[in-house]
């Protein structure tokens, strides 16, 4: 039987393995001792010194991650939710993203900032956001957005070994998603998307939780005779632009589906990119499926309406077929 673990366990395994492999790797964040396990096993006590509970001080513990990274450590900074990264944006955008460049390439910043994002149901406007656009729009940050336990583990290990700042975004709804993760070590390089499902009529590009919705939509559309290719980007910076263009070249149609508010989203960036570089392949307008341009409301009726749903993806595909 293939071993199956959750996304949470996959990250814990990645961190535990990398901490054992390299004594400069350490983890800090709020309330980590709520769950002091790595890979579902109790924390190896020899690693305890390198798992630091922080006070509720996001600007300073994120910035401290930079200071430690500049001086020989490889920090992993855990933000409880991505919403709280907004408290630390000076450190992330003014300092972390820029210091390598500002120093003419002399600064090395092996720092991972791990933040779960997305709506998980009635958590309202300050605990439900998807914010990848802020990071993607900031030169100097790598932005990783995996959707399966396998990808989570392989990409997290790569992130820890990277000598540049990495924003590692997970989706709260995927925390307990199970999937195959081999016992043997593997790494997944940044900048490589995967084709989750082959198809001919239309390409859906997606990531994180909306990828799952895209796959459901593709299955529904198949029953109606529409053949959909679904691409999981896995990493937004670097972006696998070739994979997207090759697919659009084949299908001639593109839907980008994700959870951010539509205006200013990464979906918008990808749509613009394809309009610029692949216009000649397009048989129809590009569609973006994303959240409506309002904060995430509390009540379920409204929250469901604001978030991108399977039905919205199906409709977007049909609109351009």
């Amino acid at each position: 039987m293939q071993r199956e673990i959750t996304c949470n366990q996959a990250i814990n395994e990645a961190i535990g393995e990398e901490m054992k492999r390299n004594s400069t790797v350490f983890l800090m964040g709020e309330d980590l001792y709520g769950n002091p396990t790595f890979g579902g096993k109790p924390l190896d006590l020899s690693l305890k010194k390198r798992v630091l509970n922080t006070p509720i001080s996001e600007p300073s513990f994120v910035g401290a991650g930079l200071g430690a990274a500049l001086t020989g450590m490889r920090p992993i900074v855990k933000l409880m939710f991505v919403d709280f990264s907004l408290m630390a944006l000076d450190q992330i955008i003014n300092q972390i993203a820029k210091i390598t460049y500002m120093s003419g390439g002399n600064a090395k910043v092996p720092l991972v900032i791990w933040a779960p994002e997305g709506a998980s149901g009635r958590s309202a406007a300050q605990h439900s956001q998807s914010l990848e656009g802020i990071f993607v729009g900031t030169p100097g940050l790598k932005v990783i957005t995996p959707s399966t336990p396998y990808d989570v583990k392989g990409l997290f290990k790569t992130a820890i070994r990277d000598n540049n700042p990495v924003i590692f975004l997970t989706h709260k709804r995927l925390n307990y998603l199970k999937g195959h993760v081999p016992e043997e070590e593997y790494l997944i390089p940044f900048g490589q998307g995967t084709i989750k499902r082959k198809g001919d009529d239309v390409t859906i590009v997606s990531w994180l939780y909306t990828l799952n919705k895209s796959l459901v939509a593709a299955e529904q559309l198949k029953n109606e005779g529409i053949s959909v290719e679904v691409i999981d980007l896995r990493t937004l910076v670097p972006l696998d632009s070739k994979l997207i263009l090759d697919s659009v070249k084949k299908t001639g149609r593109l839907v980008v589906a994700e959870e951010e508010a539509k205006r200013g989203s990464v979906a918008s960036e990808i749509a613009a990119f394809v309009a610029e570089e692949g216009f000649q392949y397009l048989k129809a307008p590009i569609k973006r499926v994303a959240s409506k341009n309002v904060p995430i409301p509390f009540a379920k009726t409204m929250e469901d309406f604001v978030l991108p749903q399977v039905g919205d993806i199906v409709k977007a595909v049909k609109d351009i077929i």
Partner: protein, 320 residues
């Protein structure tokens, strides 16, 4: 201090309202009613009520993720709060906010807040507004022990101090920020010590005793209204339930510790005191409790019978 009989009765009633409102929430959670993330205030009622009983309707407060108590103490109507938790159109926030964002500007309740430390500058700004408008109002920021490690706390105290703003900084030190003990996360044992760095008074008070809280706040309110500036008040208190939700299982604190604090229950002890001091008879107190019970029942009925928002309502209220 001489507190009028009617004020004492009002304080008791408010505390009972908070307790029973949240006990109703616990019951509803048990019945599977989806209420979102409810951070319960039970155990800490003396703080909200002791502080807010010094305020007039046009004074301001800013609250936290654990805001039900502050809302009720400041006069937000229970039935609209309940409707909000029920995700209804008739809720304080039309179903858009939920527990962590209840606000009612008509009673000076400028909003709960889902971001730890996020509300402190807002209260500071309402104090600045009072000063610029030259009124006699005051403002209060409520926040937890954990929030005092946030830069906003320090920056706000400094600004309020240099500008002599009429703001009360009320720290609810319930010994934990989520699972992390204050004894680990704070550089000092008493939050009130932090006032020293900003040249303002800092007081620690028994947050389980509504009269103590009332009296200390009363002095601070006088100072503020007289243009003498802010005060930091630390109320030592305890939350009986988990960080959020209705569980009482805590892996990071002991049953004995919880029991010890429950012995000091703010409502039970205030009740005994009111009887012993001859303020009210057992019968009269029971009458208050019955009245509040009926009020809560009515609030639930109102919430249940209220209409859901339409999906498209989500697109409204972004700008006014």
């Amino acid at each position: 201090m001489n507190i009028s009989k009617s004020k004492l009765i009002n304080m008791y009633e408010k505390m009972v309202q908070i307790r029973l409102f949240e006990e109703e929430i616990i019951k509803l959670i048990g019945l599977g009613q989806p209420l979102g993330m409810a951070h319960l205030y039970i155990g800490e009622e003396a703080v909200a009520v002791g502080v807010c009983s010094n305020f007039l309707d046009d004074d301001y407060i800013v609250s936290t993720h654990r805001g039900h108590g502050h809302c009720i103490a400041k006069g937000v109507k229970i039935k609209y709060m309940m409707a909000e938790l029920f995700q209804k159109k008739t809720g304080t926030n039309k179903g858009k906010g939920g527990s962590m964002h209840i606000a009612d500007f008509t009673v000076g309740m400028l909003g709960a807040c889902g971001i730890v430390g996020g509300g402190i500058p807002i209260a500071t700004g309402s104090g600045l507004s009072i000063k610029l408008r030259e009124t006699n109002q005051v403002a209060a920021a409520f926040f937890g022990d954990g929030a005092t490690n946030q830069g906003t706390f320090h920056e706000s105290l400094n600004m309020a101090s240099i500008w002599k703003l009429p703001v009360l900084y009320i720290c609810e030190n319930n010994l934990y920020g989520m699972f992390t003990p204050a004894s680990y996360a704070l550089s000092v044992q008493d939050v009130s010590k932090k006032a020293e760095a900003y040249g303002i008074p800092g007081v620690t008070v028994n947050g389980m005793d509504v009269i103590d809280v009332y009296e200390v706040t009363n002095q601070a309110v006088k100072r503020a209204r007289n243009g003498l500036g802010p005060t930091l008040i630390e109320c030592k208190t305890y939350r009986y339930y988990e960080h959020y939700g209705s569980s009482t299982d805590s892996f990071y604190r002991t049953k004995e510790e919880c029991e010890k604090w429950k012995q000091r229950d703010p409502i039970k002890n205030f009740r005994i005191r009111l009887i012993n001091d001859g303020v009210l008879t057992e019968d009269k107190l029971y009458g208050i409790e019955e009245k509040v019970n009926a009020e809560i029942e009515e609030a639930v009925k109102f919430a249940e019978e209220s209409p859901n928002p339409n999906p498209e309502d989500a697109l409204e209220d972004l700008f006014v």
